[in-house]
């Protein structure tokens, strides 16, 4: 996916969210992105919601490092970035966002992290790409693009301003194969 496709996909997700009555008409909405690229997604979707409705949903960034189930037993490290949520999530409608949904482990960790901050009325999940390969029983409520790709393949999402450009690239596991644009 090139930059324009990414933008188009974000617009689609935003439209789905705007059409979801439970998110737009009930308890005040909070968008919580999993760091780092889920956070960018949250900001873009919040901007789209504001453009369409004039409403400014709260946007938070969730660091799930301390909640992961795969951090022990290896000496290389993940440096946490910290969570930034300057609002309460009790009784709110929370939309959790991530760039890629794969095993479901990140989302599991994010759910554990979120409930440490309070008790939302409900939590929904939106992802830019669902690539399959679930290991935990988790599914997304809003999906930008579904991919049917082998388990060994890697999906790389680039989003500005973290990355130099917006893109989604699938790398096959074979070391010589070049990335395939979508």
């Amino acid at each position: 996916m090139a930059a324009e496709d990414v933008a188009q996909t974000v617009r689609q997700i935003s439209q789905q969210i705007l059409a979801a009555g439970e998110l737009m008409s009930g308890a005040p909405l909070a968008l919580v992105g999993i760091r780092r690229r889920g956070e960018i997604l949250a900001q873009r979707i919040a901007a789209a919601i504001y453009a369409q409705t004039g409403r400014n949903p709260d946007v938070g960034a969730l660091d799930i490092t301390m909640y992961r189930d795969d951090v022990v037993g290896n000496r290389s490290i993940i440096i946490p970035m910290g969570t930034e949520m300057n609002f309460r999530i009790d009784n709110r409608a929370v939309l959790l966002l991530d760039d890629v949904l794969h095993t479901g482990r990140s989302v599991r960790a994010a759910l554990d992290a979120l409930v440490d901050f309070g008790r939302p009325q409900f939590i929904r999940l939106a992802v830019l790409v669902d690539r399959g390969g679930r290991e935990y029983p988790i599914s997304a409520d809003f999906v930008g693009r579904r991919l049917e790709i082998p388990d060994e393949s890697r999906v790389r999402v680039s989003l500005k301003p973290i990355d130099s450009d917006d893109a989604v690239v699938v790398n096959s596991a074979a070391p010589t194969a070049a990335g395939v644009g979508l």
């Binding site: 992961r68 951090v71 290896n74 290389s76």
Partner: protein, 318 residues
């Protein structure tokens, strides 16, 4: 987030042995973990199932409590082991004590010991992480890191870098592990350091470390960005080296009058516990320039970071 992730150590023994990048990794991790202590549920599951032992051969209330809370906020189980209640008072050696504790299945030993180098010796004998909580007059790495963290926070508010700072460390430098850890950390990050104290407690030989040494506190007041006041450690002093309390306080105490001659944005640090009225007056300790209580809360975040890096770090999978 300035540094690239760098950390492969199971132990934290000294700051002398750490690289600049490793020091920054600890500070960045601590910065991310600070938020945990502001939540209503002040706990993350990162070290669930890990066991941390506080093995203190010297009295300490705040460091021990800080490590204990740090471990608990990371969901580790903590056991306090202190000299008076252990078989150490029955003549057991440090190594035997530690080995039998490790045999119970622990992941980290936090050790404070009156002998310099005890944590290092321990780390070569036991199969678990060893974290130095102060060894003799050698090092107190987590204190050095939390002092640095507190200075960096102040820098960030003022648009400065650690390397822009001129830091005075004032007091009994010769006997101070806090001074040594500060000295290593600050020089690695490029700060200018001046050691201040009476000639008997602040030998000129320290100039070898690439720092300035002065015995005239008043002469540098207007130049420094940070004043780190050391505690007068009566328990470590020989009477000949130490001037009278009144003399010490007069020449090396931080009081309101000296503080007025400092830069308006000077930062006052003290590792605690303070001898109020001796090395620092209440006005200086409790005034707006004091970061002493911020040091305490930052200490918690730094120790959470150290525990995470030494016993909890792992690999990102996705």
């Amino acid at each position: 987030m300035t540094s690239s992730p760098t950390w492969t150590r199971p132990h934290l023994l000294t700051l002398e042995s750490l690289s600049r990048e490793e020091i920054l990794t600890v500070l960045d991790t601590a910065e991310a973990l600070k938020e945990v202590s502001t939540r209503s549920i002040k706990k993350v599951p990162a070290l669930r199932g890990k066991v941390v032992v506080n093995l203190f051969f010297e009295d300490s209330t705040r460091t021990r409590t800080s490590f204990r809370l740090a471990a608990q906020r990371m969901s580790a189980d903590v056991v306090d082991f202190s000299v008076s209640t252990s078989s150490v008072s029955k003549g057991e050696t440090l190594i035997d004590t530690a080995r039998s504790i490790v045999a119970m299945g622990v992941d980290a030993i936090i050790i404070r010991h009156r002998s310099s180098g005890a944590p290092e010796v321990l780390s070569r004998t036991v199969q678990c992480s060893v974290i130095n909580a102060g060894d003799g007059s050698h090092e107190h790495p987590t204190q050095g890191l939390l002092d640095l963290f507190t200075m960096r926070e102040a820098c960030q508010r003022r648009g400065k870098k650690i390397s822009d700072l001129h830091v005075a460390i004032v007091g009994d430098i010769a006997n101070s592990r806090v001074a040594r850890s500060n000295l290593w950390a600050l020089t690695k990050l490029g700060a200018k350091v001046t050691l201040v104290g009476p000639t008997t407690l602040c030998p000129s030989a320290f100039a070898e470390f690439g720092v300035q040494v002065t015995h005239d506190f008043d002469s540098i007041l207007g130049e420094v960005d940070v004043i780190n006041m050391l505690r007068v450690q009566f328990e470590r002093l020989t009477s000949a080296a130490f001037p009278s309390v009144r003399e010490y306080s007069r020449y090396f105490g931080l009081n309101d009058e000296r503080l007025k001659r400092c830069r308006p944005d000077v930062l006052v640090l003290h590792p605690g516990p303070m001898n109020r009225g001796l090395e620092i007056t209440s006005g200086a300790a409790d005034g707006e320039k004091s970061a002493i209580l911020r040091q305490v809360s930052n200490g918690l975040a730094v120790r959470m970071a150290v525990l995470y890096l030494c016993i909890g770090a792992g690999q990102f999978r996705e």
